[in-house]
Amino acid sequence: MRSKSVVALTGVFALALYSSMAIGSKYNLPEPQSVIAKDIYDQHIVLMWICLVIFIGVFGVMFYSILKHRKSLGYKAANFHHSTAVEVIWTVIPCIILVVMALPATKTVIAMKDTSNPDMTIKATGYQWMWGYDYLQGEGEGISFFSKLSTPKSQVENKEPKGENYLLEVDNRVVVPAGKRIRIILTANDVIHAWWVPALGVKQDAIPGFIRDTWFTADKPGIYRGQCAELCGKDHGYMPIVVEVLEAGEYAKWVAAQTKNSAVKTSMHVTK
């Protein structure tokens, strides 16, 4: 009993160590900034461990066999060719492992798909090649703007050194308050695009003529960057998404500043 708990504890520590090392590294998903992103991150880590254990098991056996059961070592071949018991076992065990994998995933799927009771609703529209945002409901209702890549062409053409946020910077960021449930409604004007912000665990296609939705709640203020994830033509690589998460007070100030400029926005709305 004692040795069992020691083993379990060691396992948990190893897992925690590995997970903390991996956070923020370039070898893993970005540091999660929402409940869903955290779930995804953790499930991915657990799956990697399961895969690693199976991998070591299967290839441990195979490479042992490759090393020992060689003709050059004079090993004589056995002649067995089936064993119902063994075959049943290695069919049933993977099924059990899959159930273990599917259970937490199912919970997360149900949570991801539940877009009810948002604090705010923002419509994102994909264009070739930029995003349009309309704040439909909640604090900031009526705000509307386009969001385009702001990286200068000269950086793309290698005439100037590239900045830190090369291709991941826009003229107008989507600004949202921290800790609020934000529902994003998506559609597109021309072809299919996809709205993706990895740190928030959100990716949803924007489909012309149809409405799709998704949601996120950002844990803390910060700037989170993503890109269009569905091939949408020539400048598919040049329509980033930048979400700026502010504290409630800061957000209210931003809304006030935007509403002052409503004349500009209205004219933008008309040109759409």
Binding site: N28, H44, V58, R70, H81, L98, L167, L231, G233, G237
Partner: protein
């Protein structure tokens, strides 16, 4: 069908068949046609590979250097189409043409003339695809999956692609009907279904999948064509259609297609592993059932390619569970191969190396497949380099490595000569090294957030992209070594004995001289 059997070797015509180019144009001989399929697919492999080199050259550094974004998209699109339809699929049909009659003791394919036609359609389709680079507007640039409305926007290149897909589909359907008929009707006396070599079994199941899904692909590209030119709105929301319906129809073809490209590989590996382990295949019947279950399951998992398209919760859960289930029969196969090697008496000639390399890397691709099947994780990795890494692990180190294993395994029987073992091993180890250099790092790129199909990227992705490009150039060059080994074998290899592999047990080794004569099994062998 006894009549077919009788007619196929009516005597006399083998003595005065045309020579020179007319021999190849008019041939109805399964060996000639198999050879043409294999050379054609290798040529297409080089064309598709050249496109890949262009892609990796552009991605070597951030910024736009070589390919403008529009041309870059044409390269990725045609790379995918040419590799899938021009290289991998015809290569497997080539193997089927050569090996199915030899392994079941039949004199030829059931429909010998149709066999000729199904091959000669391919160069036509390939010409359409390759020449589309030179028409106004350039080649199709909407990805090999050509989702509308983007593919509705393209120019003449898209139409050429649509016709090419039609022709390739017709060729595949004819080829698979031929294979099904041959296997079901022309087996040697005594060879019951459950005594067939695994390669034949996997091709029988693959051929059924092809007949099931190629018409679906033909249908969907036709709908795209009429949307583009004849005013229909199947996939246009403004006219009452639905762009997502295209994705459903496309992937109803597309997912079984994935297994069309991997099941015959399972077959080749299931021949190679027992031969070089000098031990019968472990769990033959469970292998057959596993192959059949994979084929059936592959028809009900298509929407896992569309988890981010938006579908009801129940839909996402169904497709997640069904997809995960495929891991079970696939796992059974891997365990069976391991058990076949266990307590065998192994040697490691090039075919065996490629077969083991296949299992090792295919399992990695299988793991990333399970990870992609989990909806929440897929939401993160969908349309990123993670998916690119995943499917190259199953398509390159899966299908392609199995094709190499098969080529080295059967080339002595086909040509009567041995390949150079040292060079073959170099080919394997270099492929193994450069393949992993190219694609393993792409897992990291995808997780860190690099989308696929982009010509330019943020600086955080720069190191791994450079590593990946270096790997890709190395992998590309290594394949020229394969070409050299094969030509060297055909022209000046050492004479091969009837059975160069002492563990081989199938009919082509036990009953036929080396090289296999132009007409073989004119009298069917008797199988115990």
């Amino acid at each position: 069908m006894a009549a077919v059997h009788g007619d196929a070797h009516s005597h006399g015509h083998d003595d005065h068949h045309p020579s020179g180019i007319m021999r190849w144009i008019t041939t109805t001989n399964h060996k000639d046609i198999g050879t043409m399929y294999l050379w054609f697919s290798f040529a297409m492999f080089l064309v598709g590979g050249t496109l890949a080199m262009g892609i990796r050259a552009e991605l070597f550094q951030p910024g736009i250097q070589i390919l403008e974004p529009e041309l870059f998209n044409q390269f990725t699109t045609l790379h995918g189409l040419i590799m899938v339809f021009g290289a991998i699929m015809p290569a497997f049909v080539g193997f089927a043409n050569w090996q199915v009659p030899l392994m079941i003791g039949a004199p030829d394919m059931a429909f010998a003339r149709m066999n000729n036609w199904s091959f000669w359609l391919l160069p036509v389709a390939a010409t359409l695809l390759v020449s589309s680079f030179f028409v106004p507007g350039g080649a199709a640039a909407g990805g090999w999956t050509f989702y509308p409305p983007l593919s509705t926007q393209g120019g003449l290149g898209v139409d050429l692609m649509i016709f090419a897909v039609h022709i390739l589909g017709a060729s595949s359907i004819m080829g698979s009907i031929n294979i099904i008929t041959t296997i079901l009707n022309m087996r040697a006396p005594g060879m019951t279904l459950m005594k067939m070599p695994m390669f034949v079994w996997t091709w029988l199941i693959t051929a059924y999948l092809l007949v099931l899904v190629m018409p679906v692909l033909a249908g969907t590209v036709t709908m795209l064509l009429t949307d583009r030119h004849f005013g229909t709105s199947f996939f246009n929301a403004a006219g009452g259609g639905d762009p997502v319906m295209f994705q459903h129809i496309f992937w109803f073809f597309g997912h079984p297609e994935v297994y069309i490209m991997i099941l015959p590989s399972f077959g080749i590996v299931s021949e190679v592993i027992p031969t070089f382990s000098r031990k019968p295949l472990f769990g033959y019947s469970s292998m057959v059932y596993a192959t059949a279950s994979i084929a059936i399951l592959s028809c009900v998992v298509w929407a896992h390619h569309m988890f981010t398209a938006g579908m009801p919760t129940v839909g996402q859960l169904f497709f997640m569970y069904a997809t995960m289930l495929i891991a079970v029969p696939t796992g059974v196969k891997v365990f069976n191969w391991t058990a076949t090697m266990w307590r065998g008496s192994m040697t490691f000639e090039t075919p065996m190396l490629f077969a083991i390399g296949f299992i090792f890397l295919f399992v990695i691709g299988g793991f990333s497949g399970v990870i992609c099947a989990i909806v929440p994780i897929d939401i993160q990795v969908q349309d990123t380099y993670y998916v690119i890494a995943h499917f190259h692990y199953v398509l390159v180190s899966g299908s392609l490595f199995a094709l190499f294993a098969g080529a080295y395994y059967w080339i002595p029987k086909w040509t009567g000569r041995m390949y150079n073992e040292t060079l073959g091993k170099w080919h394997f180890w270099l492929s193994m090294f450069f393949f992993n250099l190219t694609f393993f790092v792409q897992h990291f790129l995808g997780l860190a957030g690099m989308p696929r199909r982009i010509p330019d990227y943020n600086l955080q992705f720069a190191d791994f992209n450079m590593v990946s490009s270096i790997g890709a150039f190395g992998f590309g060059l290594t394949q020229l070594l394969f070409l050299y080994v094969m030509i060297n074998c055909i022209r000046s290899g050492e004479k091969a004995p009837q059975k160069p592999w002492d563990g081989a047990t199938t009919l082509e080794w036990t009953h036929l001289p080396t090289p296999a004569p132009y007409h073989s099994f004119e009298k069917p062998p008797v199988v115990n």
